[in-house]
Amino acid sequence: MEQWIVQMEGIEKRFAGVHALKQGRFDLKSGEVHALVGENGAGKSTMMKILTGVYHMDEGRIVYKGQEVRIADTRMAQRLGIAMIHQELNLAKDLTVAQNIFIGREPRKAWPWFVDDKEMNNQTQALLRQMRLDIDPATPIAQLTVAKQQMVEIMKAISYESQVLIMDEPTASLSDSEIDELFRMIEQLKSKGVAIVYISHRMGELKRITDRITVMRDGAYIDTVPTADVGMDQIIAMMVGREVYQPSRPERKQAEQAAPVLQVNGLTRKGKLHDISFSLCKGEILGVAGLVGAGRTELARAIFGADRIDAGEIWVNGRKLQATSPHQAVKGGIGYLSEDRKHFGCLLEMDVKTNLALASMSRFARALFMNDKRIAEAAEQTVEALKVKTPGIGQQVKFLSGGNQQKVIIGKWLTRDCEILIFDEPTRGIDVGAKSEIYRLLERLAAEGKSIIMISSELPEVLRLSHRILVMCEGRITGELMNDEHASQERIMNYATKRIV
């Protein structure tokens, strides 16, 4: 049944000096999976926020099911049947699955004050069974994996009889098998006539699951094409509007065989890490691959002193590091970029120059006083060197795009002049154009003698950049390979799923 469910045209939106949407256009048919792609800052989030009632458009027209509507707020969008699954999930972690799904409309017992938990759980169970999900409705959300939490969010949207589902980077934290499950659910929703807007940077997935692709760039509508008719390179070209660094296996320069810069022995953390040992050489990029939950982030945090360890030693340049806190690790020359930029990486409310100086404050202080001039100078230099897109070093970081926020965090560690850098998912949520820049930056840093541990769930990325690859599974290192002609995604996957009983 091909019917226009959403038609947006002429959408204009401005924020304090930024022209976020210029004559934005988007239309959606029932039962289709429609990809919305574009670099960060292209305007796709803004378009969807207007559709879901989070923002008001300055000008434009939205037609929903043939009728023109003014979406005043999120409640109204919900009533119309439009729901969004955000990248950062919107669930109450301490409540159960059923409580989250029925929040605000809990079934009541005979006395209106009392919630009918049994009925709520039953209804939730029915919904879950419908979608063939194996989750106990009484489980607290915090106990579920990210993948399952996402399923619950989707369930919630469906339970509101949503006919338009907007998914923002739904597969960012999912393993391959979880992605398969998600796609199965999407197919099911399609057959029910639900229209899905699929926002993602993962080209391979778009080919698999979407019917049409709309490309936006710099706040403007570029084109809409049927997925089957177009190649990924064309899409990327439309997104980026310029010649893109062709992704291919680049020449691997052998890292200098020098004494290890970092040596980890027998690192153990109860329940998370078992007897991890490896070394890192100067100028090397060590990729760390593995499925979600393999313990890679835990490893990074353990080395960085952010979490306690139960056993193990860490040596930096032949000296033992007592990494009981990040403060010690940083003093020892290690920097860490966590996978959650917003919460652990930058101070969103503060400006670019403060964020850049944060790890090096004592360097910029004379006695107790801060030398603001030097901070500004250093900030300007870093912004220039890393090509951070910002109106100025006084701009609050929360206004920068994801890719530029990441650059600021990288800049922070460069300002500190760390020898060893641990990157945890360095290009998560970052558009194609900025990704290449970050890759080039990583290669440059390694060439300049920095030693890098790069944790990534994107195997092409791991194969592209690493000199050597470690693979983890369930808290152990299950494989180590040189990134030569024998290295492949299949081999890595093999190690990543190799459980040791």
Partner: protein, 331 residues
């Protein structure tokens, strides 16, 4: 890459604080104007000086509180620690006969030690600031009563002590300009506090920790130690307030103090500092403290019963914070 010339720093951050201060200052001016029109007794040198004098003690407490609040914490003990500091000063000077300077140093040290202990409990033991400083509030109150033997300590034997608050250095330098020293000390403390907050490393870390403590910790900052330092600094200002108060009353009154912390927090909040941390200014706190004093004084001059005065102040706090929330929403 697109050639985006890096525009001169449009410092949204600074602009917003500027706007905040302007609004608070504007409100203060409006209040002064209102009361001046409503009563001919308001806008007199002596009355205005009286307002400034009555602001001094709470003002210094509020200055100290600004630091912990900007760091995302809170200090409920400032009122009773102030009293304990004044009692200790009394003990040193009156009972032990130590020189004036040593006694004052002792009072300041008392404030610092209490702040240090609170800070350690919060940073090392992980006790939430509300609870840790609540405990300190009770302990300090008790100690003040125990040490003083539940009786006031008088400074009648050391007339110089009185001059700290009540004397007038300005009056000596500029004849006729008899502004009490307490006011001078308050403004000096404000200037020092402002410099600390805006230009020193502890001030920067203050904002960073208040803005996002975990991100700051993961940037290699020794957040634990800096938090202790921040609470100790607040303790120092609390000690100063204790000396000022003892000097004003020419005695250390061990049963006073409880309740002052809430007025101090009110002043901070009215001045535009967010209780969730990461934003705030010393100037705002000064204006907040003045607004409260002007209100109390003006209402008294208009013969509004005392009971109603606190109602009005409470409403003003609500309005001030609500106005701040509205403004943030628009941003």
């Amino acid at each position: 890459m697109r050639d985006t010339a890096i525009a001169p720093a449009s410092s949204k951050f600074v602009f917003k604080s500027g706007l905040q201060q302007l609004l608070a200052f504007g409100s203060l001016i409006l209040l002064v104007a209102f009361f001046s029109i409503a009563s001919s007794n308001f806008f007199h040198f002596s009355n205005l000086v009286g307002i400034l004098l009555s602001t001094a003690v709470i003002g210094v407490l509020a200055l100290g509180s600004t630091f912990v609040i900007v760091s995302g914490g809170i200090d409920l003990s400032v009122g009773t620690v102030m009293t304990l500091s004044s009692v200790m000063t009394g003990v040193f000077i009156t009972m032990w006969g130590l020189p004036l300077g040593v006694g004052i140093a002792g009072g300041l040290l008392t404030g610092c030690v209490c702040g240090f202990i609170s800070g350690m409990a919060i940073a090392r033991l992980g006790v939430p600031p509300f609870i840790a400083t609540l405990a300190m509030m009770m302990i300090a109150k008790g100690l003040a009563l125990v040490i003083s033997g539940t009786r006031p300590i008088y400074f009648t034997n050391t007339p110089d002590f009185m001059r700290i608050s009540q004397g007038s250095l300005l009056g000596v330098l500029i004849p006729g300009f008899n502004i009490p020293n307490a006011v001078l000390i308050f403004f000096l403390a404000a200037i020092v506090g402002s410099i600390i907050l805006s230009r020193t490393i502890i001030g920067r870390y203050n904002f960073a920790i208040g803005s996002n403590e975990e991100a700051t910790r993961l940037s290699g900052v020794n957040v634990r130690n800096w938090k202790v330092a921040i609470y100790t600094m607040t303790g120092l200002f609390t000690g100063i307030a204790g000396i000022l108060m003892a000097s004003r009353l020419n005695s250390a009154q061990p049963s006073l103090g409880m309740g002052y912390e809430l007025e101090a927090i009110a002043a901070v909040v009215i001045g535009g500092t967010s209780l969730s941390g990461g934003k705030g200014t010393i100037v705002g706190t000064v204006i907040g403290a003045l607004i409260m004093s002007v209100l109390t004084n003006g209402l008294r001059i208009l013969s509004v019963p005392q009971e109603w005065q606190t109602v009005v102040v409470g409403l003003v706090i609500l309005l001030a914070v609500y106005g701040d929330i509205l403004r943030r929403r628009k941003a």
